[in-house]
Symmetry: C2
């Protein structure tokens, strides 16, 4: 996280850049916001779309053994009875009779994790405010509920899903039958989930409304342990492939006390966020818990039956990540400050396939009609395939800095020489090297550059 | 809608194909479903992603004047007071004291629209059941509500957004400042919305949970009328560009009585669904209503101030479509049945950029290791850039039919001649024409085919 100027990347710097360049805004800001809710602005949408597209490619496009799903956010409420969420998806809360604040009981006894998870200032932590007079803990369900039907008072209670995974389990039989699958195979889904966290915080790290990228991989029971190892390595490799430094990633196996009752093994892929090592993605061996629960509650047998009569309940290995948290990690890891020609610059050294804009097209002098026309024409050609940006607003140095701050890997500059020999300058965001290319070859050059195996130039 | 065999495309046929091939399933099916909620299966996700991607390209990638946004689903509740939704977003409902059914009062007096909007069987419509004894109408708010905060009984009420548009209006100032925009410019957003419809129905046409693709275009007041015409034409053209027949599309201007109180003009782009001409997308001239409301309620001036001191509240032109409804229209319009070599085939003549799978790679004889290896190697090459499918399961005729039913435009077949001369056969989904290509040229051929201006071969 140390940048070239020796500074440390703080969450404040990331929040500030995200806001200044329109990646992420506090939600409903003109109405005073809504605690820990955020809206993605232009570059944020482009970049988060890229994060999701890379996950989808890795899960679906590049493989034969995983199919896609997009299940509803509001499912039949019996799904959440079967999954155990109605009964047990809760945090233990305690109230302070003096200061009227409410705390998670497990955070009080586990102060080490407190800053990461709750984001409250330490001065407000019980134990440091000796006058706190705490109640007994009581369970607080984290699911948001609503009522469907014609009148609020008589409508039936339903829940906003707290995870996308259950929408996958209840479609297991559909996929088995219709997609003609046999284990090992997976079902992958991206979508919003909601949790009524009482301690959200740390920017995009923990919010009430968030997206998930979850994949449930169904395997023969005897193979679950080896598939678990496979998916830990695979998901770790995905973050590295798109530019996260190896020294900022680690795998942390859960201790026996941390494990969910249904899981025989879980490992977190952790990232060195500015708030310390924290979960980026969890990979869990869930066993046959989910399919067994839904079989019992629905009366529909969720099992695999082979043509030879072989019959078993598959075990499930689940890599569960989040596009918001991945977005934050990519931003933090890419953030750099350096001195160039005696002036500081801020640059997001994003992987080109994560970067919101692939290239900027800049006519050197905005006033020359001929240069503008050539730049416009190049822009029109490139945007048939790529997200590019035309900019003729301001001094060229300022335009470069703007593109550096949003992480645009390449800038094509149209100058006086272009009018003479039909070449343009391409500037590399990271090395700052410039070279000339024929304008007619830019489209192909950009395509090749995006397909090259790209290595981050950042020190590990 | 008449297919080559003379049959009419019915909603039942679409629902059946969607289920049979894993495009769309009833949600929570093993628990008896949840009225009018659907889960997208593998091909449905791929195709709906394409619909959204084409919209995003047309709005963002191909233009300079629109930026992207992704605002939260749960906004500060004051947003919905300002927008008028808390007060006025309601349907008038009447109850029947005899049969205990509940109806929309406006459907009773407007029976012509009833089947489209409510999907109830005609026999259950009041007026045809003379014993119905109706109550007075009462207002029923369509927003789903929830409670945020630590305890249900004390948490604050919040709403699931009934439209994405308000998330755009409350970010108007952020975009104006940070994206350095001046009118005319637009903000585009894709995302889920929720409406507690008491009469959902007709498959994906009307559901409680649905996605929207909305764009708010901010213009100088005097230009609003011409921009309105521009966006009606532009959006009509988008559906045609991706294969909807001109004879199945029409523009229907709202009558004075239909117009919202704030709108000076609205036109629906209608599609000839199996249920009759129905709204595919609405384009509205919303005037300055929204920005004025939010200025009053938030105390933040939402206006444009030019460098020369020019100052005005922009007017808004809004094209508001839905990926689910567009998905349904693309499916209906592409659906065809014909007789080929004395056997019926069902084919989805989808535009290649809408089709879920771009190409299938089929080794002619699954048992030949050499053919399988060549087909695998071609698959691996193509999937670096395209969503393709390898299939060696079953007779080649059956594999073709399967690809026809999911709308795959091209199939590459590896046969014995491939082993001799390194060529493959490419089969065209629509013409059924076959030609041979060098296997080394398939990647380029497919890229070119996808970029060609593609015209649907369907009779208009």
């Amino acid at each position: 996280m140390a940048s070239a100027t020796g500074d440390v990347v703080t969450m404040d710097k990331i929040v500030s850049l995200a806001r200044r360049r329109g990646f992420v805004f506090p939600s409903s800001e003109i109405y005073g916001g809504l605690g820990s809710a955020y809206d993605y602005g232009h570059y944020g949408v482009l970049m988060k779309n890229n994060v999701k597209a890379r996950w989808f490619e890795a899960m679906i496009q590049e493989r034969d053994d995983i199919v896609a799903l997009d299940s509803a956010i509001i499912l039949n409420p019996r799904v959440w009875e079967a999954s155990g969420h109605v009964e047990g998806f809760s945090d233990p809360l305690v109230d302070c009779r003096t200061c009227k604040l409410r705390f998670r009981a497990d955070h009080i006894t586990d102060p080490e994790h407190d800053e990461v998870r709750c984001g409250r200032k330490p001065s407000k932590r019980p134990g440091e405010t000796p006058e706190c007079d705490l109640t007994e803990a009581r369970a607080f369900n984290l699911m948001l509920s609503t009522r469907l039907g014609a009148l609020e008072e008589t409508g039936s209670v339903a829940y906003l899903r707290p995870e996308t995974a259950q929408g996958i389990f209840v479609n297991f039989k559909n996929v088995l039958q219709i997609a003609r699958r046999k284990p090992p195979f997976g079902i992958a889904q991206i979508g919003k989930s909601f949790r009524n966290e009482i301690t959200p915080g740390n920017f995009l790290f923990r919010t009430r409304e968030f997206e998930q990228m979850e994949m449930e991989f169904f395997v023969p029971p005897d193979d679950a342990a080896s598939w678990f190892e496979y998916w830990v390595a695979e998901r770790h490799g995905w973050y590295a492939r798109y530019g996260i430094r190896g020294s900022h990633l680690r795998v942390r196996p859960h201790s026996a006390e941390e494990l969910s009752h249904y899981s025989s093994a879980t490992s977190d892929i952790e990232y060195l966020f500015p708030i310390g090592w924290s979960e980026l993605e969890g990979v869990a061996n869930r066993g046959d818990f989910d399919l067994t629960q839904h079989t019992e509650h629905s009366g529909t047998k969720l099992e695999y039956v082979g043509q030879d009569g072989e019959r078993y309940v598959p075990h499930v290995v689940e890599p569960a990540g989040g596009p918001d948290r991945a977005f934050l990690a990519f931003m933090v890891d890419a953030y750099d400050e350096e001195i160039v020609a005696d002036r500081p610059r801020t640059v997001l050294r994003l992987h080109p396939r994560i970067a919101p804009v692939k290239a900027a097209i800049l006519p050197l002098i905005g006033k020359s009609e001929e240069m503008v026309a050539k730049a416009r024409s190049l822009t029109d050609e490139l945007r048939r395939r790529y997200l590019v940006e035309y900019d003729d607003n301001g001094a060229i140095g300022r335009r470069y800095r703007r593109q550096d701050e949003i992480g645009t890997p390449w800038a094509f500059t149209i100058d006086e020489q272009t009018l003479e020999d039909e070449t343009v300058t391409v500037r590399d965001r990271d090395s700052l090297a410039q070279q000339r290319l024929p304008i007619a070859g830019v489209d192909r050059w950009l395509g090749d550059a995006l397909e090259r195996n790209w290595r981050t130039p950042k020190a590990d």
